[in-house]
């Protein structure tokens, strides 16, 4: 446990779950799969807790586990010939985000636009725009150079912005 008490680690992990679920939701697009992903990530974290260095950012460590498991799962599906069709991905906001039909529509379009992005761009956008990580933190979490984070972010936004502007009708 590297000097960290198990109950402290578990307590910190529980506190992180909402953010992990949000991150997983932004990757998978639906809550049941996000919860399965977070559950598997928590198991993996507890099995490998000795690798966690106390004093370092636990959220980044957990984001990486979630992202790795998600990637592994997608690879398995790729080998089996399955694919993720955004039209088949069911979206949910658990009723928290919007109650008006047009607001629900806008948020659903935002989720759909996110799910249309390639995997790498979606990961970076989720970590930076939603989870609030710095470019460097996102790069360390994903084990890629900062330049890669910036270029993926740029491409993600090029694809995303027109859809969001259209849905919001904000710009004149």
């Amino acid at each position: 446990m590297n000097g960290q008490r198990p109950d402290t680690f578990r307590r910190d992990l529980v506190a992180l779950v909402p953010k992990l679920r949000r991150f997983a939701l932004s990757l998978t697009g639906n809550m049941p799969d996000a919860d399965d992903l977070v559950q598997a990530a928590c198991e993996k974290a507890l099995r490998n807790v000795a690798q966690f260095v106390p004093g370092t950012r636990m959220d980044s460590w957990m984001y990486r586990i979630v992202q790795t498991l998600w990637l592994d799962d997608r690879r398995k599906l790729t080998r089996r010939g399955a694919s993720v069709d955004p039209d088949d991905v069911h979206l949910s906001d658990e009723g928290k985000a919007a109650s008006l039909p047009e607001d629900r529509m806008m948020l659903a379009q935002t989720r759909a636009a996110m799910l249309d992005l390639p995997r790498g761009q979606r990961e970076v956008l989720a970590l930076v725009a939603i989870e609030g990580l710095s470019y460097r933190e996102a790069a360390e979490t994903l084990d890629v150079p900062v330049g890669t984070v910036m270029s993926r972010l740029s491409r993600a936004r090029e694809a995303l912005l027109p859809k969001l502007v259209l849905s919001q009708g904000r710009r004149q």
Binding site: R10, S26, P32, D36, V89, L91, G95, R104, I130
Partner: protein
């Protein structure tokens, strides 16, 4: 004139993402004051960030699921392997879910004059015909005092659900129901009711209360509902008799 027409988009993105030092950010702010195109781009970035946060924010206010807590507490052996596309796991069936919804709103127990009654919608009923053919957003009178509007059509894991609203001015009540495709027909899954707010008699539209809308949203989420169909897609479903 190439001088300082626009800033590099990466730099504007770094500004929007809070990556710049206070001095660098201040310089960008000064630049934006004189460059509306760049200001618009930054506005878009910030709006997109805000939309993304809202779109995926539901878990931040939800309790930690018991299954995840059990794993962290060491009470459960293994999580299930994640699979895609989304598998649904709706443990909450009608009665249990109804009980939870009833905490927030009145769950209508028996038949309603509007025809909004939980259960299958028989062919030949007016409601059946309207669910089959009425586009969302159109209001039709059921009686002199009752108007029915289908608010939206949403795809679910099992088919489609339509949000139905009936305003009964005589009874001073607003019913809202969720009717979903089932067994080549329709089934009303839930009916919620609340008193109609004081409304001028000539007002055509009475918005549903927030509580009702939220309660229906819970149902829709349990059903895996996606975004509302646009008019053309919905028209296509109506033309095909709701066969996917």
């Amino acid at each position: 004139m190439m001088r300082e027409t626009t800033l590099d988009k990466a730099r504007l993105a770094a500004f929007a993402d809070g990556e710049l030092s206070p001095e660098e950010a201040a310089a960008v702010v000064m630049h934006l004051a004189d460059h509306p195109e760049d200001q618009a781009f930054v506005d878009d970035l910030m709006a997109a960030n805000a939309a993304l946060i809202r779109a995926f924010d539901a878990p931040m206010t939800a309790p930690v699921p018991p299954a995840i807590l059990a794993v962290i507490d060491g009470q459960q052996a293994r999580a299930k392997v994640v699979s895609f596309p989304g598998r649904r796991a709706f443990a909450l069936a009608g009665v249990a879910l109804a009980a939870s919804v009833a905490l927030a709103v009145v769950l209508v127990p028996g038949p309603r004059p509007s025809g909004l009654t939980v259960g299958p919608v028989a062919q030949g009923q007016v409601l059946h015909d309207l669910l089959q053919s009425l586009p969302s957003g159109q209001t039709v009178p059921l009686t002199a005092a009752q108007d029915l509007t289908i608010l939206a059509t949403l795809p679910t894991t099992a088919g489609h659900c339509r949000e139905v609203e009936v305003i009964d001015r005589a009874a001073g009540r607003l019913d809202m129901a969720l009717a979903c495709t089932a067994d080549a027909g329709w089934r009303v899954d839930v009916v919620l009711s609340e008193p109609l707010p004081d409304t001028p008699p000539d007002q055509a539209y009475v918005p549903a209360g927030g509580i009702e809308t939220e309660a229906l949203t819970l149902w829709l989420d349990r059903l895996g509902a996606g975004m509302a169909l646009d008019a053309a897609t919905e028209a296509g479903m109506i033309a095909r008799g709701w066969v996917r």
